[in-house]
């Protein structure tokens, strides 16, 4: 009798495996606003200088903010010296996805920023906004030195022409971006202009011009414009065989 029961349970388990033992679901996570207690979002930059793209990229950070309602996901401003720049800024966005079980399989991730404005005053090939990883010193605060803590592996990009103001801009992350999501801690992302990522300015330089994408941070009032990370996942269903 006990063997028969066990066989029935095994057949039942097999049927469950055959008829999709996993379920697709989504978890949408958000940074928290200032005063941050979990995951910061904001802007870091090097400003008030007059340098080539190579040097402004590699220089030390000179400023940061994580308390404004909106901030630059990326901006570059030219100086009055030919082919030099006075400001370069980057965005840092952290999320806590640890409410997912450790053995969760993530199948897709979308990183979304609610745009405030996108401007490109340079002629030539327009910029893109790249999503990369970041490693700020703290999960709840930004410092100037975090300017140097953004990666160069691009997880997703949106071209300037497709950047939307007063709407969500959805970056579908590739496999490297999906792998950047932590199931046990804080997931750390960054944004920067592709000119910055690639160390290659493809626009036509002109004096005192800007190229930027400004997006809302978690510090805005209300909940309809917050940065967010939407994770599609499958969670294995556990089958427990009980003895007779």
């Amino acid at each position: 009798m006990r063997k028969i029961t066990l066989k029935i349970l095994i057949v039942f388990a097999g049927l469950l495996l055959f008829f999709n033992v996993t379920s697709a679901a989504t978890l949408t996570v958000y940074p928290d606003p200032d005063p941050e207690t979990a995951t910061v979002d904001g802007t870091v930059g090097r400003t008030s200088v007059n340098q080539t793209l190579t040097n402004i990229r590699a220089g030390a950070g000179t400023g940061n903010q994580s308390i404004n309602t909106n901030g630059y996901a990326g901006i570059i401003q030219s100086s009055t010296t030919s082919n030099q720049f006075q400001s370069l800024q980057r965005g840092i966005w952290l999320f806590d996805a640890s409410s997912l079980a450790d053995d969760t399989t993530i199948t897709a991730v979308t990183f979304s920023l609610y745009g405030k404005e996108a401007i490109n005053q340079f002629a030539g090939t327009a910029f893109e906004i790249d999503v990369v990883d970041s490693t700020p010193a703290s999960n709840t605060n930004l410092v100037d030195a975090d300017y140097g803590q953004l990666g160069s592996t691009v997880f997703s990009s949106i071209a300037f022409a497709s950047l939307a103001a007063e709407a969500y801009n959805d970056f579908a992350l590739d496999a490297s971006g999906i792998a950047n999501v932590s199931l046990t801690g804080v997931s750390k992302f960054g944004t920067r202009l592709n000119w910055d990522t690639d160390n290659s300015f493809t626009g036509t330089w002109s004096s005192s011009k800007s190229a930027l994408f400004d997006a809302y941070q978690a510090d805005n009032a209300g909940t309809t414009k917050d940065p967010k990370l939407t994770i599609t996942y499958t969670a294995a269903r556990r089958i427990i065989l009980l003895p007779d």
Binding site: S23, A24, A25, T26, L27, T28, V29, Y30, D32, P33, D34, P35, T37, A38, T69, D96, A97, S98, S99, N139, T140, T184, G185, V186, A218, D219, A221, G222, T223, T224, K225, D226
Partner: protein, 158 residues
């Protein structure tokens, strides 16, 4: 003498009612929450996460609550009155929500957890916001920030 007494009996309560109605409308036209016209502290909420099942129904929402006030800030060269959060509300501050389940964040913070038993069978963020707006309205010590409901486009619900 008798006639004059009866007039006052009607006029005084009438004036009181007119005054109360005027005060109510003036308060709300001014964009302030209905807390008698004066609010020392404001409150709002932010999502930590929203979890949906494979049918798209919201099955969990973990929510962070805050206290703040309005301050004048110069933004893009223009002086504006903006909401500034001063602290995140912890469990002892949230007694008005009742005995709610909590979820622990990575850093150990406790976040209020809501489930379909609380908000029903819903799919959209706006439906969740409508439920949460009613939750923070229970706070007698703080007024809900107007932006919390103004940003909610009721016409898009359902």
């Amino acid at each position: 003498m008798m006639i004059k007494f009866h007039k006052n009996l009607i006029l005084i309560p009438l004036c009181v009612v007119v005054f109360m109605i005027s005060a109510f409308f003036l308060t709300n036209l001014g964009g302030l929450p209905n807390t008698g016209g004066i609010a020392d502290k404001y409150t709002d909420y932010k999502f930590w996460y929203i979890r949906r099942n494979d049918a798209g129904f919201i099955i969990e929402a973990a929510v962070r609550f805050y206290e703040g006030n309005y301050e004048t800030k110069v933004i893009d060269g223009v002086s504006k009155n903006v909401y500034v959060r001063s602290k995140r509300l912890d469990i002892p501050d949230l007694g008005y929500l009742g005995d709610q389940e909590v979820r622990i964040e990575t850093n150990g913070n406790k976040t209020i957890l809501y489930k379909p038993d609380d908000f029903g069978a819903i799919k959209t963020d706006n439906e969740l916001r409508l439920f949460l707006n009613k939750q923070i309205d229970k706070d007698r010590g703080r007024a809900t920030i107007p932006e919390q409901s103004e940003l909610l486009d009721i016409s898009k619900v359902k």
